[in-house]
């Protein structure tokens, strides 16, 4: 199926791969923000996940262990953030920015000597007859297993937030931490766990870039994906399925503009490269134009410092 020199089936299939890092990071950040913490360090956690996963995968020759190490790296970064903001009550915005800068610097230090190294390949999952279904098989069932893990995480996040007591407590802490504290819930513990989940997801997202998408290591290779993930959480009004939608729209525009460049369309390359970001900004503006916090779905305690004064 070709439209204007672009194969739609291949386009959609590559879109899913291109979106996965952002989808993972945004899903994690959504949980952290739902608990009331704004962690702007997503980019830093992603790049640390990228290098930790890369090193582990190269030395063990196992992508699976690589992804585990990436999650651990992301969690370690998020626990630094949790220690600073939850225990020492530092400003979340400033701490998040610092975490990003720290992550970018530390990863390029740790990653010295890994430039040009090839990681072990992550094979596609063999889904047997499903792959043979025309069109749908090509689009949905010929990916590596992290794509399916990311979709599973979105579904699990949605179900946990909506149907379980743990999810209810998490939402309650993000909505009104004073009331949650008065009822005897442990605000800091809940938030630290939510941050750790966010860190793990961001780490996985980063490793997906260095192990599958590119796959190799170079300094600063996450190239702003963490910031896009943050924007997508807002775009999604803090709802998991909309995160999926937002990530796929962004990924779709990114892939599309690359294809258009390759097809030699007479639009300046600069404009095409800008397109995914412009679309993100445009959608954010449209979303924000609808007034009111409730319409947006933002947790009411988002970014506020919790201090148990009583």
């Amino acid at each position: 199926m070709m439209i204007g020199g672009i194969d739609i089936v291949v386009l959609i299939a590559t879109l899913m791969v291109a979106s996965t890092p952002i989808l993972l990071a945004a899903t994690g950040e959504l949980v952290a923000e739902k608990s009331g913490v704004l962690n702007l360090g997503v980019e830093g956690m992603m790049i640390m996940g990228a290098i930790c996963g890369f090193i582990a995968a190269v030395h063990t020759d196992s992508p699976a262990l690589g992804f585990l190490a990436a999650a651990a790296g992301g969690i370690a970064m998020s626990l630094i953030f949790a220690l600073l903001t939850q225990l020492l009550l530092s400003n979340q915005v400033a701490t998040g920015l610092a975490l990003t800068l720290f992550g970018l610097g530390l990863s390029s230090l740790v990653g010295q000597g890994y430039n040009g190294v090839k990681p072990p390949p992550s094979p596609d999952v063999n889904l047997g007859p499903l792959e043979q279904i025309p069109v749908i098989g090509d689009i949905l069932f010929r990916h590596d297993w992290m794509v399916y893990v990311s979709l599973g995480l979105v579904a699990a996040t949605w179900a946990v937030l909506r149907y379980t007591r743990a999810g209810l407590i998490l939402r309650a802490v993000g909505e009104n931490h004073d009331a949650a504290h008065a009822l005897g819930y442990r605000v800091r513990l809940v938030r630290t766990l939510a941050l750790a989940y966010g860190g793990a997801c961001a780490g996985l997202g980063g490793a997906y870039i260095s192990l599958v998408r590119v796959p190799q290591w170079s300094d600063g290779m996450t190239a702003g994906s963490g910031w896009i993930a943050l924007a997508i959480v807002v775009f999604a009004s803090w709802r998991p399925w909309r995160v999926l939608l937002g990530a796929y729209i962004f990924g779709g525009v990114t892939v599309l503009q690359l294809r258009l460049q390759a097809a030699g369309i007479a639009i300046p390359v600069q404009l095409l490269s800008m397109a995914p970001y412009l679309v993100t900004i445009l959608v954010l503006v449209i979303m924000s134009a609808r007034r009111g916090r409730a319409a947006m779905g933002a947790p009411a305690s988002l970014g506020r410092i919790f201090h148990a004064s009583s």
Binding site: L168, R171, A172, N176, A179, A180, L183, G184, S310
Partner: protein, 504 residues
């Protein structure tokens, strides 16, 4: 005895919140804890509910030692609490809010049924699937009460439960509480509304500055005696002369503005006139448009030009600065963060609002000498207790800061002053001073609008009285001759509450 408390002490840096407090509550007793703001009532009940650990002393519940480490333990022992500032989650629905207050909530469908059953049994109708953010203050309190009742408590603690209710809603709440007490549930009732305590409670413990100063049976005392025990001094009600009202200074007609807050109340076609020398009192249960009315009058929310008319001039499109220059000043409810910038000094805070009318800025430069003089004048005239005018606003106690922000507006010699909750959380002596200052200002020919949830306060200071209900204002009526029933109806009646019909 159900609960016995002996020698409970809790100190915070710089203040002893509770000092050797002892009292006891029998099963089925309605026991009042009386005291001014800052007397230590809240700290005391937080210790009983396991939110705060006492430094010394011990408690026994039904004969056994009782030391709750956290609210969970208190709930397990049969102690439940309805909070003063609701501990509810606006973006969650009623059933979710209830579930959060339970140890082992049943499945959602079963829980919804139990909420319906209990709410009907006690005459507090509630729909479990509604979002709490959309409920009125009275309905929110029902959510809290039902959350407690579902746990079958032995002791129910209520912290200032009536401050947000209409008189009719208070009556229904009391019926519910009496039923509960007849069933054997003890109630620890915190309030500073004396008539309510006399009507409801079997016993009372009075706290002053963290110490128990008296125990009594409230029915045997007059409200005045109770108040004097609470305050520790004789109180004089504010004086007011009779005066003939002058010209209409502030005219409001057809004022409709949308609330800036997603869970706020928009104003709908509000209209009233205030004359020179007159005090208009505006009552209403919290969340019926009081904040929005203040914002619309102060100029923080703009409206049609003709909706707000000041001395014959339309000012609806002017901002706060423009209206201040024209003679309208205001004092919002929230002292820290709205009326005053918490981290800035009193001098700087004086400048923020007094700049225009006191000419504190000359060609873009601040006249610090004059500003400091203004701040010192406020401190002196309004008896603000502070080490100096260079201290940060947040360092002042609630009552002193309130005297400062109200004094700051009054000393600007306004034609109209609008205040919201001028004595909220202020001790009795400071409250009396603020009310007197407002009455004196009116006597000098200003028009005064007092928005308040404290009916006694309004009846004390106002000449005419109106009530806000869901963003609509009732027609103002003279205070003289108004009955409590009429006021209740103006405030919106009982919001479909019904009297409890459980078999005792």
């Amino acid at each position: 005895m159900l609960l016995t408390i002996e020698g409970l002490t809790k100190a915070y840096p710089g203040v002893v919140a509770n000092d050797d407090v002892s009292f006891s509550v029998a099963e089925g007793e309605v026991h009042a804890l009386l005291g001014e703001n800052g007397a230590g009532k809240s700290t005391l009940v937080k210790m009983i509910y396991g939110l705060v650990k006492p430094d010394a002393g011990h408690m026994t519940l039904r004969g056994a030692a009782y030391e709750p480490a956290e609210p969970r333990a208190a709930r397990a022992a049969g102690v439940a609490m309805v909070f003063q500032h609701f501990s509810l989650f606006e973006a969650l629905d009623v059933a979710e809010n209830v579930a959060l207050g339970m140890e082992k909530p049943p499945r959602p469908r079963e829980l919804a049924q139990r909420i319906r059953a209990v709410s009907e049994e006690y005459g507090l109708p509630l729909d479990p699937s509604r979002l709490v953010g959309d409920l009125s203050a009275g309905e929110r309190q029902r959510v809290e009460i039902i959350r407690c009742l579902l746990q079958d408590p032995k002791l129910l603690i209520m912290d200032e439960p009536t401050s947000v209710l209409t008189p009719q809603e208070v009556e229904i709440l009391f019926e519910t509480l009496r039923k509960l007490s007849a069933e054997g549930t003890a109630i620890l009732y915190i309030s500073h509304k004396l008539e309510e305590i006399r009507a409801l409670c079997d016993g009372a413990t009075i706290l002053r500055r963290g110490k128990v100063v008296a125990t009594c049976t409230p029915r045997e005392k007059s409200a005045r005696e109770l108040a004097e025990m609470m305050v520790g001094q004789t109180l004089t009600p504010p004086e007011r002369g009779t005066r003939a009202p002058g010209e209409v200074v502030l005219g409001v007609a057809g004022l409709s503005v949308a609330s800036p807050n997603p869970f706020g109340t928009s104003l709908k076609n509000v209209g009233f006139d205030v004359r020179a020398g007159e005090v208009l009192g505006i009552a209403g249960v919290a969340g019926n448009g009081q904040d929005e009315l203040l914002l619309a009058l102060s100029g923080e929310l703009r409206s049609d030009a003709g909706a707000v008319v000041l001395k014959g001039k339309p000012v609806g499109t002017l901002g706060p600065e423009g209206r201040r220059a024209a003679g309208l000043v205001s004092g919002p409810e929230e002292r820290l963060g709205h009326a005053a910038a918490p981290e800035m000094s009193l001098t700087e805070n004086a400048l923020l609002s007094g700049r225009v009318r006191r000419a504190l800025v000359k060609s873009g430069f601040i006249d610090w000498k004059k500003t400091k003089g203004f701040a010192e004048e406020i401190v002196k005239d309004f008896d603000v207790r502070t080490p100096g005018v260079d201290v940060a606003a947040r360092a002042l106690s609630g009552g002193n800061l309130q005297k400062f922000v109200i004094g700051r507006e009054i000393l600007q010699d306004p034609a109209v002053i609008v205040v919201n909750q001028p004595t909220w959380g202020v001790d009795a002596a400071a409250a009396a001073a603020i009310r007197q200052a407002l009455i004196d200002l009116a006597a000098k020919g200003a028009a005064v609008v007092v928005i308040s949830q404290d009916l006694d306060e309004l009846l004390e200071v106002a000449d005419r009285f109106a009530a806000l209900n869901e963003g609509r204002l009732s027609a103002p009526r003279p205070v003289q001759g108004l009955t409590v029933e009429e006021i209740g109806l103006m405030m919106g009646g009982a919001h479909d509450m019904e009297v409890a019909h459980v078999e005792a």
